[in-house]
Symmetry: C2
Subunit: 341 residues, 2 copies
């Protein structure tokens, strides 16, 4: 029924091995032979059997995307980029959710990963936050000798490839944007205390304020936890004293920014006329809100794409570990745009 490499060889009048060489773009094939084989392959609608290739070469042509993330939106974007890259290089992506909530210690986390990857041999693994910061998970991959790449890890990992963006720089630029709009008192809402991005975004905000010689008052910074609810609570505190409240609030993610907008609307504070609001992430919510949110667009799709590339691109794999810094984008929408500016 389906054509095999032997069929192609027979019809083309060459050996199986030559067909293999042509299809894998190996050198040492006469141009004429190459063309002939290619023509026959097309004619026979030949496509290699992945299982056979895998068995013979002890590769799987599979890349696992291992995640443990509550945000379907984030995963969907990473996955989308990863799949596109896989297609380009003849691989396939297998998403593998990994629930580590029951595995408290490092050793049992390691065992969980080992178990997961024992059943399915893959040629590479992509780790998304917060797994990219888990020592147990990383250790399992290292001892199993499976190539892997970290997406947005918090630390500067030595000897491990990673794809990331500069959260500090992004938060700093967003704050600078607000300062350029004339704001002098800018409130900030921090994210979840255990999330690695929280400290980085806060640092970017502080840097911009310091560079502009603007003091940051104790009452201008509130702790949140990335939830809408925490944005509401923080906004209520920031906006309590109407005579001395900030003219702009930078929430370190969109959900919290939505909470700010909702409080402002309830208190009759006009956004952006009386209060500018910024978020971070550019989730779908940012465009649904009224007014639409000014926010930071992370290169999530690109991180997924680049992660796969690092693992499977012949030009990159088996090379020393590399760190890929991808570009973010400030998306300016109505929530922080002074009229006429």
């Amino acid at each position: 029924m389906k054509a095999t490499i032997t069929d192609v060889a027979k019809v083309a009048g060459v050996s199986m091995k030559t067909v293999s060489r042509v299809l894998n773009n190996e050198p040492n094939v006469a141009t004429k032979t190459r063309e002939k084989v290619l023509a026959v392959a097309t004619e026979l609608r030949y496509s290699p059997n992945l299982a056979a290739k895998g068995l013979a070469s002890s590769r799987s042509y599979l890349v696992a995307l291992v995640y443990d993330n509550p945000s379907p939106y984030y995963i969907a974007k990473i996955q989308s980029g990863a799949i596109d890259a896989c297609r380009k290089f003849g691989y396939h992506l297998v998403p593998e959710p990994l629930d580590l909530t029951d595995e408290a210690d490092e050793a049992s986390q390691e065992e969980a990963v080992r178990h997961l990857l024992h059943r399915l041999p893959v040629d590479g693994v992509i780790l998304t936050p917060p797994l990219s910061d888990s020592p147990g998970v990383v250790k399992a991959l290292e001892t199993m000798k499976i190539p892997f790449v970290l997406v947005a890890p918090s630390g500067r990992e030595n000897g491990i490839s990673s794809v990331k963006m500069d959260d500090i720089q992004a938060a700093q630029e967003m704050t600078e944007f607000l300062i350029a709009q004339g704001h002098k008192s800018i409130g900030f809402i921090k994210g979840h205390i255990e999330h690695s991005a929280t400290a980085l975004r806060y640092e970017g905000y502080r840097k911009a304020m310091a560079n502009a010689d603007l003091p940051v008052g104790r009452n201008e910074v509130k702790q949140g936890d990335f939830s809408f609810r925490s944005g509401v609570t923080a906004a209520e505190e920031l906006l309590r004293n109407r005579s001395a409240c900030p003219t702009a609030i930078f929430a370190s993610n969109d959900d919290m920014a939505a909470g700010v907008v909702s409080v402002a609307s309830r208190l009759g504070i006009a956004v952006p006329d009386d209060l500018s609001v910024c978020g971070f992430d550019d989730t779908p919510l940012a465009k649904i809100l009224f007014p639409q949110l000014t926010t930071v667009q992370q290169p999530i799709y690109e991180m997924g794409y680049q992660a796969v590339k690092v693992l499977v691109d012949p030009a990159l794999k088996n090379k020393p570990a590399s760190t890929h810094n991808l570009d973010f984008k400030l998306v300016v929408r109505d929530s922080a745009l002074i009229q006429g500016s």
Copy 2:
């Protein structure tokens, strides 16, 4: 390094074939032999090589989730259910986005699917809306003789397995809930005109109104397109005449319901005191809004799970096509809850 079936056979003192029988739960193995093999397999941390299994049995142990859907939330949930089912049966899920926007006619859509599945042989395919309604896609699968199952198809497909929920019934129950709360004038906002769920949900609404002998005025039904924006527009029309506007609005998805809430808030109409609002889908948005949305929770995760089960469960596959109707759930939250009721 990694144990093979031969290693297990050697250590257990039996033939390769016997090990194979034990591991695949085939009959005709002495209990003692079975136990011995199992013990050795565990000891050696043996796990079968998928590629070898696949090559020998001409199966792949892979299921493809083919989608072309703008909603990452929907896909993420389907995928989550599908992966869990795959794990239970020893399969793996490979998500395959399929962009059909450039393939206008049925023939080229068929070719696109053929091309996609030619490279990756899979044991089954799951088709999500709107692909589950595409004749070209269905035809490709049929001629390739790949087992497949439709998720939420609109029509009554003959001879094709499907998993779905009853949109008519759900919309009817939601409307009945509003009626039971004492509402007599209930506005309705229809969905996108080309989406199959639109007509079904509207029918459920009409049925409930008719059953309760409540007339549906021309001004009570507005056309939307499932977007937040269209919900805003529809709400503005429905609420224009404050003296004769409905006391409840049932939007046929959450995004449009969010639009209604936003208009009400702008007009100073209290939700739910002056206006009850209901949505459909129970997206994350439903819980972020203030007040939180009363809505219909679709069994999306369950559809993904069941779809895989139909394809790979030995008790179900190779059986005649079956239709699986899964249960929805009315989620009553503050946006449509009369106080004290």
